[in-house]
Amino acid sequence: MFEVIPPRPAPGGVAGVGGWIRRNLFSSPANTLLTVVTGVFVVYVGLSVVLWALFDASWGQVWANQRLFAVYRYPADLLWRPMAVLAAMMALIGVMGGAGRRNEILRGLFWSLVAFVAFVTVIALLFWPSVRVLWAGVLAASLVGYAVGVARPSFVRGLPWAWVAWLFLGFFLLYGVTPGSGLLRIVPARDWGGFMLTLILFTGIVPSFPLGIALALGRRSKLPAIKYVCTGFIEIVRGAPLIMWLFVASLLLPLFLNTDPNNLPAILRAYVAITLFSAAYMAENVRGGLQAVPRGQTEAARALGLGGWQTTSLIVLPQALRAVIPAIVGQAIGLFKDTSLVFIVGLADFFRVTEIVANQPASLQVTGGVKLELYLYVALIYFFFAYRMSIASRQLEKQLGVGTR
């Protein structure tokens, strides 16, 4: 007579917390030794860092210079402008996060940003009281955006236009419209800096996208002239480091245009260099995607009577881009970190502000100077964003089924 044997609980060391610990930490004498040694090491390092941060470090200059870190010399009375741009951005992301109930990745990103804004709001409450209302406003705008997204998911359809509007209005809000007058007076680009500048430079990824696609298509063109020019551009730009291009662009762009360099603020020059550099890398990513699209796709499209441009834009590119989204996110993370190189052209981005703060007479009065504190502070914030993006990239990869071949 056949009878199903009832399941029994697993013996110790297979399941449960104890089992997990045994398997992962103490499976053999060598492993145990390894666990103990590394454990002691980790505890020692962790403890010394915490003790130093709590007792030895002097964080005063970090908090006192929050404005420099955030916006550098952007006028204090006009801070509502960048904050409004930020609030609008958060609200738009909020709408996306709220509406895309099924899109875990986007929602996760949104809440991470909200957490960051909340963190800065707390810092502002403690150390930078004049902007606490503004930061609270940003927080509120994010939540309102989210609520709107949840209530009216259909708003998402209008979002591309909203983003375009945000881009233009945001620029005008930051830069201003009328010189000197009361209404939106102009804040010259040389006063922009800090984390705001890092984010602005980071948006260089946006124009680099179409440029990169054009270059990639050009590189795959059957027409030799176009192909070689595009290939040459891509290879030359990728061949040299970004810091060199920033330096060269800063020197040469005004010469190339034979114009008063003041018409090309340093930020613009850096932006051009970053965009072109990013475009060359984007082109290589896109090219990888183009190569992954089977030839049959093009042929089927041509057989249906679609023209060359239609085939490319409707059939080939959508597939190619989808395949390289993780690579593009990876590139975005790289670009985010690389914005720190603009120190070479005298721009005061988030990273460069550490040097400026370290050289204030006030910083020099602290015994031994304030260095480690400043570097740790910026490193942590860079890490937060870059790491969060890389998590999102991994989720995206999983969602798209790339890498699970």
């Binding site: 089977p294 049959g296 796709q297 042929e299 089927a300 499209a301 041509r302 057989a303 249906l304 009577g305 679609l306 023209g307 239609q310 409707l314 059939i315 959508p318 597939q319 989808r322």
Partner: protein, 259 residues
């Protein structure tokens, strides 16, 4: 000069019909490799021509030349009165009037079945979306999978995908359908469902050129069978002629292997 080129086999359509495809003296090279040699072929409206032959014999290349997926170097190809020349407009015209079904389906994976089908009518024929969708559903119904309209190709079986591909080609209202080994990539149990559709299509009077190894199909619906080898047309005849009394030794050898 003393070398006498053997006269190429001419696969002319039966007299009396209205020729919709005329190929004369077609030659094509891939680099130094002479893939198509002196092809002469014409096809009448409503005719079903089956092209058979060993792999590498140039069958696929031949039908790909007909809608200019491959460029020929010598000879003339006239489709529905339009000659394929270097004129971009003529190429577009010919492609509009010929539908093609590929061995590997080549559905667009990022579009739904319905979008796959309506894409070309909307973009090329400039139909309204509603009109295109209506026609698309009509043909989906015809190939027997009306319920799959909103799925993505990846969610369909091979046989279903190929039927979508046929519907996609048909929705453009082509005058000629080109089939490039439409069943070769399919599992044996679903080949039948695709062939059924093709048979039905043939019986409705569609002009078809079919490259295939399905001898049953050739025998059932083929008006003419063309045997190609080494880039040449070796033998032309009715299905009965082929399967009962092939003339050329090469044809016999080929048929003995696959039958």
């Amino acid at each position: 000069m003393s070398n006498v080129t053997p006269a190429p086999v001419r696969a002319d359509a039966p007299a009396g019909g209205q020729a919709i495809i005329t190929i004369e003296g077609l030659n094509k090279w891939f680099g130094d490799f002479h893939v198509l040699r002196d092809i002469n072929l014409s096809v009448n409206q409503g005719e079903v021509v089956v092209v058979i032959g060993p792999s590498g014999s140039g069958k696929s290349t031949l039908i790909r030349c007909i809608n200019h997926l491959e460029e020929h170097q010598e000879g003339r190809i006239v489709v529905d009165g339009t000659e394929l020349t270097d004129d971009v407009r003529n190429i577009d015209l010919v492609r509009r009037e010929t539908g093609m079904v590929f061995q590997s389906f080549n559905l667009f994976p990022h579009l739904t079945v319905l979008e796959n089908i309506t894409l070309a009518p909307i973009r090329v024929r400039k139909w309204k979306r509603t009109q295109a969708e209506e026609r698309a559903r009509f043909f989906l119904d015809k190939v027997g999978i009306p319920e799959q309209a909103l799925k993505y190709p990846g969610q369909l079986s091979g046989g279903q995908q190929q039927r979508v591909a046929i519907a996609r080609a048909l929705t453009m209202g082509p005058k000629v359908m080109l089939f490039d080994e439409p069943t070769s990539a399919l599992d044996p149990e679903v080949i039948g469902e695709v062939l059924e559709v093709m048979v039905a299509l043939a019986q409705e009077g569609m002009t078809m050129i079919v490259v295939t190894h399905e001898m049953g199909f050739a025998r059932e619906v083929g008006d003419r069978v063309i045997f190609m080898d080494a880039g040449q047309i070796v033998e032309v005849g009715s299905p009965e002629h082929f399967f009962l009394a092939p003339r050329e030794a090469r044809t016999k050898a080929f048929l003995s292997k696959i039958l």
